[in-house]
Symmetry: C2
Subunit: 207 residues, 2 copies
């Protein structure tokens, strides 16, 4: 089967460790490309332009929307977040799997638009551990932590629509796990339509 690049959408609770996992995945295996989102929110301390996000103005973002220059976008807490189309399409054409970090609504939109996208939901080994990680950062107030837990409860409602659950316990094991899940996903019929169509034609020709 000719290997085509696919979209890998990673979601998960705040504090589940998605960012670290994705960076490590791209660093460890050759075939991945990490998509960088565009946002209108302000950079947090330490965030770099083009690394965590492309930081743009509301006008620039809305222009991108008009030009159909985004694979998906969403408004979240009064800020836009979106995936620039050009980078994604170029990498897929090269046969690379493109990793996107998107929250649940965006992930489900992607799945509708690209049925061959793989949706992975990252979770900490337990909810106790999730709470501990959120508190452990030491950067957020109890109110923010409580808000994130509520948000987690909302996101949990959509987990059934994901392809895979990934438990982030030990980083290296989890990265290997994600990699094997993505390899497995490549063998689903929805990601091999051309191969199946060709095979059907050949079979019919023989009958």
């Amino acid at each position: 089967m000719k290997r085509k690049g696919i979209l890998i959408v990673v979601s998960g609770f705040s504090g589940a460790g998605k960012g670290t996992l994705m960076k490590q995945l791209v660093r460890t295996y050759e075939n991945y490309a990490l998509s960088v989102s565009m946002t209108t929110r302000s950079p947090r301390p330490g965030e770099e332009e083009g690394k965590e996000y492309f930081f743009v103005s509301r006008e620039e973002f809305e222009k991108k929307i008009e030009q159909d220059g985004l694979v998906e976008y969403a408004l979240y807490c009064d800020n836009y977040y979106g995936t620039p189309r050009e980078y994604v399409e170029r990498q897929l054409e090269k046969g690379r799997d493109v990793i996107l970090e998107i929250e649940i609504q965006g992930a489900l939109k992607i799945k509708k638009k690209f049925p061959s996208a793989v949706l992975m939901f990252v979770m900490p080994p337990s909810i106790g551990e999730l709470k501990k990680r959120l508190e452990g950062r030491g950067t957020e107030s109890p109110e923010v932590i409580s808000k994130r837990l509520k948000r987690a409860a909302e996101e949990a409602e959509g987990i059934e629509q994901y392809d895979y659950i990934v438990i982030n316990d030990k980083l290296e094991e989890c990265v290997l796990k994600m990699h094997t899940l993505i390899l497995a996903a490549h063998d689903a019929p929805v990601r091999n339509k051309e191969f199946i169509e060709n095979m059907k034609k050949e079979l019919e020709a023989l009958c």
Copy 2:
């Protein structure tokens, strides 16, 4: 996540090498149990009772149906084929993944009844290779081969409903592939309902 046994349904074209693959899979990895089907067809030369099939009379088979003693059954070319329930359930309870070889209609029935079943479709690397394998057995007439190719064309219509396509090129590689696909399937939400439900409850309790 507590690991529960799941049903693995293997289908594929006659001549794709399903039987050899499944036996090798069960021999190589510990956690699998191979289900033996029950049939009313006569044994072929070399087939042993309880190995390829349990060979029973039509009366015995219909009694099993009445007792709800079969996970699924089908009438195919005037003969009954079915999966005895008791063995399957006992193995699943032990946490083992149970491998069943079932043709496409039966496989889709299983998926409806057990949404957590994993459906794998085994194919030769090419249709040319399929034809060669069917001819190469040397045991079948051209009419039978032609009939099987027609049957293959019919079965190909349902491939989209399977979870995974497995290309049987090199036996050892293919067995490893099946194993990793099954491991991946264990991480789908549909096979972790209890885990997800518990997590949701814990999250709600915290909010």
